[in-house]
Amino acid sequence: MEKLLRNDYRCILKSRLIPGILLSVFLFLISQTMNQKYLLNVYAESGESAAFKYLACNLIDCYISAFFIMVIPSFVAAFDFEAGMLRNKLIAGYSRTQIYFSNLITSFSLCLLCSLLIFIYKLIVYIGFLTPEVFVSLIRSPGAAEIMLTTILFDILVKFALCSISLAIAMIISNRVISIFVSIALMVSCLLAGISFDIFYEPAGDLLTTIMFMNNIFIVSIAQAEGNIPIQNSAYYVGIIADILVFTSAGLFVFNRRNYK
């Protein structure tokens, strides 16, 4: 497994994927900067605690990076399918399960890199917009550390779930262009469904959302960003872990049985 991962990471480092991600994230964030300034001012005026809650949720961005997370696994899987390297890996004695998990770990690492970039960029922008004094006072506000840690844990789970969904799609379809299209279409439709659900069934913290596989991720992430959902609610964690298990198992099941070229 370690050899497989080294092979996958080296392949990605030699490709244009990382420069592509860097450029896309940068362009996306630049376009978001003014919007961030406006929102920050609105939340900062609403009081320290609320402002920090927003800050924590938005710093550890969930739904902006969802777009990148839904696309990255298709590129990672494409190295195996399009270049025929899947065959090389199988001949070298690796099992399909090992290859699948190696792709999942590689994709997730890239997704985390993407999130880290967004985090660093936003941190710089926030400190710049709020001034360091205001920023420090927000960080020192009551319960700040707990909110931040819970948000990070929740966010990592959400990102891993999105990554496993997208990789399952990529491994099943085994065509980069089609799997990117399907992943984005799925993300947009779920996002729309999530927004509709959030609008028509307030508050979004309803338990019903946890039984909706995809939607709950987006509902929670939107609601979380709006600061109106208690992410300490264990039902959401159960829902997201269920997403990870269901989609990883489905992807693995199909990948183990299909005949690939």
């Binding site: 050899k3 025929g84 390297m85 065959r87 199988l90 070298a92 690939y260």
Partner: protein, 245 residues
């Protein structure tokens, strides 16, 4: 006799109707250069893909270096001793020939990359420098595929139509390389080819496939004796006669 590959009633179906291999039996002796001959669609590539683990078999059993296919872990371990170029060679098009070989070494867990230049020289790609594989000619890609197959000093190399796309000089170089590796490193080869004249210059054993079944296995020596005592003059004549029977 020691066999590297033995197959017993191997079957491979695609769906319920399309049967590619039908009770396929084969015996590849250790240290041989085994020529697998058959028409297009006879099942040669499917057999190779099954041995390499690229495709699962439907029924039957094979053994690879004594490891039975029913013992998944043992056969996966045995696959570490083989390498193959099936259909088209596999490599990362955005990398150079050397980088691709480094990838292959990483995949095989070989810590030192010392032998890479030697391999590139062997297949005549040492001077390609940083040129990306996507800009290689078909012949160069084929030669790189063979270099990748040679990485890690395998005990068995499976080559599917290796002479296709090669220019005449490339065919001669490949033939000499195969013979040298077979003699010096005792590597067993399983080669499928339609260029029977070329195959007859290197093969020590033959297997003839028709409609998913191995209809005859014969050593090169026995075949030579047969040819001299019959009206057949070449391997091609013999093959055509077998297929038309």
């Amino acid at each position: 006799m020691d066999y590297v590959i033995e197959a017993d009633r191997l079957c491979k179906n695609y769906g319920s109707r399309h049967r590619v291999l039908k009770e396929f039996d084969i015996h590849v002796p250790k240290g041989s250069i085994y020529g697998l001959i058959g028409k297009n669609g006879a099942g040669k590539t499917t057999f190779m893909r099954i041995i390499c683990g690229v495709q699962p078999l439907t029924s039957g059993e094979f053994s690879l270096f004594g490891a039975k296919s029913s013992d998944t872990n043992a056969v996966r371990k045995a696959r570490e001793r083989i390498s193959a170029v099936i259909e088209s060679p596999s490599f990362y098009p955005h990398m150079s020939a050397k980088d691709n070989l480094i990838q292959q070494y990483t995949l095989l867990g070989i810590p030192s990359t010392e032998g890479i230049d030697e391999l590139l020289e062997l297949v005549g790609l040492l001077n390609t420098g940083k040129k990306k594989v996507k800009d290689f000619s078909l012949g160069m890609k084929q030669r790189l595929g063979i270099a990748m197959a040679l990485a890690g000093s395998p005990d068995l190399i499976i080559l599917d139509e290796p002479m296709n796309r090669l220019e005449p000089e490339g065919v001669v170089e490949l033939r000499e390389t195969i013979l040298r590796l077979n003699k010096e490193r005792d590597i067993t080869f399983v080669i499928s080819s339609h260029i029977l004249n070329e195959l007859s210059k290197i093969a020590t054993d033959y297997g003839f496939i028709r409609d998913g079944k191995l209809i005859e296995e014969i050593t090169a020596r026995d075949l030579e004796a047969k040819l001299s005592s019959s009206s057949h003059r070449t391997l091609e004549d013999y093959f055509l006669d077998l297929m038309n029977r």
